[in-house]
Subunit: 226 residues, 3 copies
Amino acid sequence: RPKVFRTPDDVDRPAIVKLPEAARRVERGFFVAKDREDLLKKAKRLADKGVIRLADLSEAAIEELVLGAHFNINYFYSPIYGRLELHSIDRRIQTDLDGFYRLPARDQLELDAEPRYIEVGHEPATIRESLLERAFEIGYRFVEAAKRLEPPGVIGPFTLQVMATPELDLVVFDVAPRIGGGTNAYMGVGGQYSKLYWGRPISMGRRIAIEIRRAAEEGRLGDVTT
Amino acid sequence: RPKVFRTPDDVDRPAIVKLPEAARRVERGFFVAKDREDLLKKAKRLADKGVIRLADLSEAAIEELVLGAHFNINYFYSPIYGRLELHSIDRRIQTDLDGFYRLPARDQLELDAEPRYIEVGHEPATIRESLLERAFEIGYRFVEAAKRLEPPGVIGPFTLQVMATPELDLVVFDVAPRIGGGTNAYMGVGGQYSKLYWGRPISMGRRIAIEIRRAAEEGRLGDVTT
Amino acid sequence: RPKVFRTPDDVDRPAIVKLPEAARRVERGFFVAKDREDLLKKAKRLADKGVIRLADLSEAAIEELVLGAHFNINYFYSPIYGRLELHSIDRRIQTDLDGFYRLPARDQLELDAEPRYIEVGHEPATIRESLLERAFEIGYRFVEAAKRLEPPGVIGPFTLQVMATPELDLVVFDVAPRIGGGTNAYMGVGGQYSKLYWGRPISMGRRIAIEIRRAAEEGRLGDVTT
C-alpha cells in the first residue's frame, strides 16, 4: 500500500492529494505535489482561485505518489475449491486523461487543461511472469484480511488495482470487492489465466456459475452466499 | 460530432486546425490551438516558416478539440437479420506520435519535433458497460443517415471512431464505411461482442459469410449487394 | 537497424546514448540528446552530478533516436516445415515510464524525475496489414543471418522488437532469440496470426510441441535440437 501522510507537514516525498468528495468543486478531485512546500503552494493557489478551501485540506487523503505501470488483477476466491485463482489481468482507460497525455508535451502545456481521471474502458494485458508469485501473495493477504475484518470475508470475484514499480514490487492502491469492470476485456474470449485451472479460458460469469453449481451439488450453498 | 467553426474568428474554445491535403507541406497536417488568438499566432508562425500559406487557412477544417479516450467501435448492420450488431471495439496506434508521447515531457520539449499521426496498428479494448447503449444509439443514427443520404445505405461492416468524454458522451470524429482495420485485433480470436449474437466470438470475415449464406438461402442476395 | 555513431562527434541527428552496464550508476541507463552539442552538454551535466564519468562516454553505444510505434513481433522458424511463421504481435509495458508519461506534462516537469524503462508486462496488438510483408522480410533476414553467423541458426521461437516509423518502415532495435515474454499476452487464447497456419490460434508452447512431435515422427529430432 502507498505510504499515507496524516498532515501536509509529514510529506517528505512526491505526493498525491485526494480531496474529500464533498469538497470536490474541482473536477479533477486531486492534485500531485513534488514535496511539502509544493503541496502548500499549490493548495494556496487552488484556494485563491476558489477551487478548494484550505479547510478541506485537513480532510484530504495525502498519499505517497507511486510511479509505476498500473494493472488490474482479477481474482476469484473459491470457498468450494479452497483456493485463490488468478482469472485475468487488464488495464484501465481513463478519460479525458487518455487523450491529454497523447498530445505532445508542448500542446499540453499550451492548453493548460486539468485532465480528469474517469474510467471509461479496459484493455487486456499480462504481467511479467516473475511477478505472478507476488500477485498471489497480495491476493491471499487480501482474502485473509477480509475474513478477519468482515467474516466470512470475500467470496468469488474481486480485483486489486496495483502499480508495478521499477523495484518489481506490486503496490495495491485500490480494491474492487466484486466483478471488476475490466474482466469485460475478456468477454467472449475468457480470462487468459483461467485456462490454467479449467483447460480453456472462461469468463468471470462462467466461473461464478461453476462455483454455484458445484456448491449446490455438494449441499454447500451456504458457503458461497451471505 | 465535434463543433465545426467556419472561420478562425468563430473559434471560442480549444480547436484543432486540419489543413487541406493539397496544402499539406507540413507533415503533421494539422495543429492544435488554445483559442482564437493562439490559432492566429500559430498560423502566422507556420506561415513565416513557409510551412503553410495563410491563404490555406480559409480552406482548413477548424473543429473543436475534443479531449477524451479514443475507441473504434466496429459494427455490422444486417439487412437479413434486421438489426445492428456490435462486433468489437479496438484502439488505434499511431506513428510516430506513439513513440513521442512516451518520451518524458522534458525530452519531448527538447527534441521539439512534430509528431505525425499515421495509423500503424490496433489494440483490443472494451468500453464501459454504461456506454454501450449510447454506442447503439450513434450506430443506429449512422445507419439511418446513410439510408437517407445514399440509399440503400450501409450494408454489413462499418466503424465509428469516437472520443469518450469525461461527461460520458461518445463524440464521433470519423467513420469507416467498410471493414475497419482494427477488427484485425481480433483475428483468429473473434470480436468479443459478437459472442453475444453467435454463442462464440467470430471474425468480421465470418460474420460477412454468415450474412451472405443466409441471404442466398432466403433468395435475398439483392438485399446485401448493391 | 538504427544508425550507430562511433563517437559523439559523429552525431548529426537526435540520438540515444546507452551507457555500458558497468558504468550504470544512473538508474536510467541512457539519455536522449537532440544533437551533438546537446549530447556533450548533457554528458557534462551528468558527469558534474557524479552520475556518469565522461570516460564512460567512449564505451557508450550511441544510436540514432528512432521515433515510432513499438511492436514485438513473435516468430517461429520451423526447420521441419521449412518456413518462417508469424505467431503473434504484442507491445511491452515498462515501469515506471508507463506511469510517468501518463502524468500531464506540467506534473512531469515539476516532478523532474528520471523514469526507468523496465519491462513489466505486455499487451496484445496487431500491425497494419500492409506492414506484414515487411515483417516477413526482416524475419527471414534474421533467420539467414543467424544461420550464417552461428550455424545451424535460430530454431523455433524468436522475437524482433521493432519501431514502425511514419515512413512505414520497420526498424529492428532488439532481438530475443527465444520465447518472447510478450507471447504471454496470448496465454490460453493463442497467438492471433498462428490461426492462419493451424486453423485456430495456438500458444507458442503448443507450437513448439507440434514441431517436436512431427520431428520425432519423421526421425528428424536432430534438425530441431543443438
